[in-house]
Amino acid sequence: MLARLILYFAYTLKRSPRYRRTKLFFYDLLENQDSQIKSYFDMFMICLVMTSVLLLIYEVNNEFNQLDIIFEYIIIALFIWEYLLRVWLCNDSHKIFLEYYEKTRYLNIPFRLRTALRLVFAQKIAYMLTPLALIDLLAIVSIYRPLQILRVFLIFRLLKLFRYFNNIKLFADVLASKRFELYTLAIFLGFLIFIGTISIYLLEHRDNSQQISSLFDALYFTIVTVATVGFGDISPQTGGGRLVAIAMIFSGLGVLAFFTSIIVAALSEKIQEVRDQKTHSELHRYASFVIICGFGRVGQHIATQLEKDKQRFVIIDNQEERIAKAKRRGYLAIHADASRNKVLKSAGINNKATAILCTTGNDVINVYITLTSRHLNPDIRIISRANHRENVKKLYQAGANDVLQPFEIASLVVAEYVGQPVAFEAIVGIINEEKNFVMETLCVHSGCFLDGIRLADIDFAQRKLMLVGIISTHALHQKHKNRYALKDQHFYFNPTAAFELQAQDLLVLLGKEVSIDYFRYQIESSRPKP
């Protein structure tokens, strides 16, 4: 009966969107590293813990008044809520429960409520035993003050700050990653202390019994010496004891140096990861961005252009010096191999990246990155660079939307420059927006004031615009002359006055940026609101 009730409850939870939303909200609040409210919550908790610690310091010499006690209770209540929420968030109990239930149904074995509950609680308890969860729990216990020894738990309240600082977590990770070295060191240190304690006790106890009266004194002296602290409250009196002390000081120095070097090495390894993480979290905040693979000559020029446009981008390159260069310029950069799925995914190819530019100097790599990106995201725009003519086709096959050849374009520029310098300056000027005149396309939205209008009725000259042509997919226009086929649409050059505009046609206009912007604004505002 009870089993049935729990089962019903679990299914209700599974179906309820409200439950899911609530859980997601608390996940964002407490656990999700990328969410904004978590950082506010962390800040709030840090302030609260600091206040409570200040209160505790005050309490050492003074008695609490009513207000302080209330404040203390509020803090603890918050701690308890936080702890319970975290335990709740650590996994989905109803899923485990239902999974077990469905398994029993499938295998036709009897459903045992006890096993199901054990499965559910095993995971919760595993979470509760993690260091951070234990600290949380002990910080709550610290409310119980009467027992003097329990005052130690107040320290856990300070340790609770670990939760809210991400950087401290990093230090714990560093220690964990060097576990083997640290174990070795600890065993060596243990031996050293053991030998030191025994020999000091043997050598000193008989002649210097006031100072070294027990084995504990010997241990205390050994540790103080090995750590090169040397309080001087206990000092060896016999020649043998002093020799041992000298040996301990030198070996202590060695151990300390070794320990420091391990930590420093681990930190410097880790710091790179942290930087990459920071890049990723910053990318996550952008609404849209472009991925540039390869920060060579072409990549650098593109980055400069995009920076001018205030368009967000991230650079991926596998050469360290190039990444360093990108970072010096203040760009987001990831030091990795862009042809690996993991790298592109973590850079956000499936999230907010709008385009990928493959600009490495190696065609093989460009093809590989293009293929990988297309495989990961069928809709993303891929523009790739081909250094050799014969590879253009391969890049299109690999899934590139557009392929560029640096030398081909440059030779085109040169050839035109030789023949018609003025004409070419004009077109290059328009493309590069050097002369304040730009060529832009404006879309005729359905229902806007241009929809269905003949060109004769639009006064482009009065708007200080020049109509170069119209790009359209509409079959209705096909009777017009000057038709040029583009990829999957047609370009109508110099259309006649009888040309009737259709929705989704693109006007190719030449003019000053202000005139084009104003015309775009007129089109947008005349379009019916959805």
Binding site: T304, L306, I427, I430, N494, L510
Partner: protein, 235 residues
Amino acid sequence: MKQIIVFGYSVMSLEVMKRLNSKQHTLLFVSESDEEAERIIEQGFNTTVIDFRNDDELKAIGIGSSADIIFCFYPTDSDNVFLTISARALDKELSIIAIVDDPESAEKLLAAGANKIIDPYEICAKRTHNMLTKPDVTNMLDNTVFGQHDLNIAQIEIPKGSYLEDSKSSDLGLAEKYNLILIGIVDRELGDALHFAISEKKHILNAGDVLVVLGPSNEIKHFKEAVNGGYICWN
């Protein structure tokens, strides 16, 4: 007929030579070694082998006399700078076009006397950027003006005695009469800068002014004939 001399074997030099119309220009490729020269000859270009460091040999192939344009396409910037300095010393009027590998060398090449510097990487980057920001316009230009479709941009200089002299730029009506679009004008009264046809100024055309038009090559040819009073004149 312009005489063009191309120095240096690179992807660029072959691409440029293929693009230049051999009816309008005579091309000469200068090679460093016989082996390289053979490869170029196979592609069907005139080739000679000289050492570009030697001024007498440069003079022998026409620099300072018959050559109009030289291309410095050596892969290393220092070679290009050296060649530019030598050529400029021999001929003040020569048009020198050089490619640059390191952007910092651009200034040095200009100081050495080059007329136009080409940075292939920068051009490629700009195009990539255009493709990203204005895919429609770039795609259209690629397929028409730069591509295989017959739509060209051309410059037409107005000769003395042309019927266009003293007419207003706004009254030309090229779109209706010739199916051409007037993009801009170089009005010699205002200097050598290009003025776009949509700016407010109404230009009075004189001999020596240059019209920049966009249109099918056939129509451009017709218009040129009309401007020149019946004679075809390749500028």
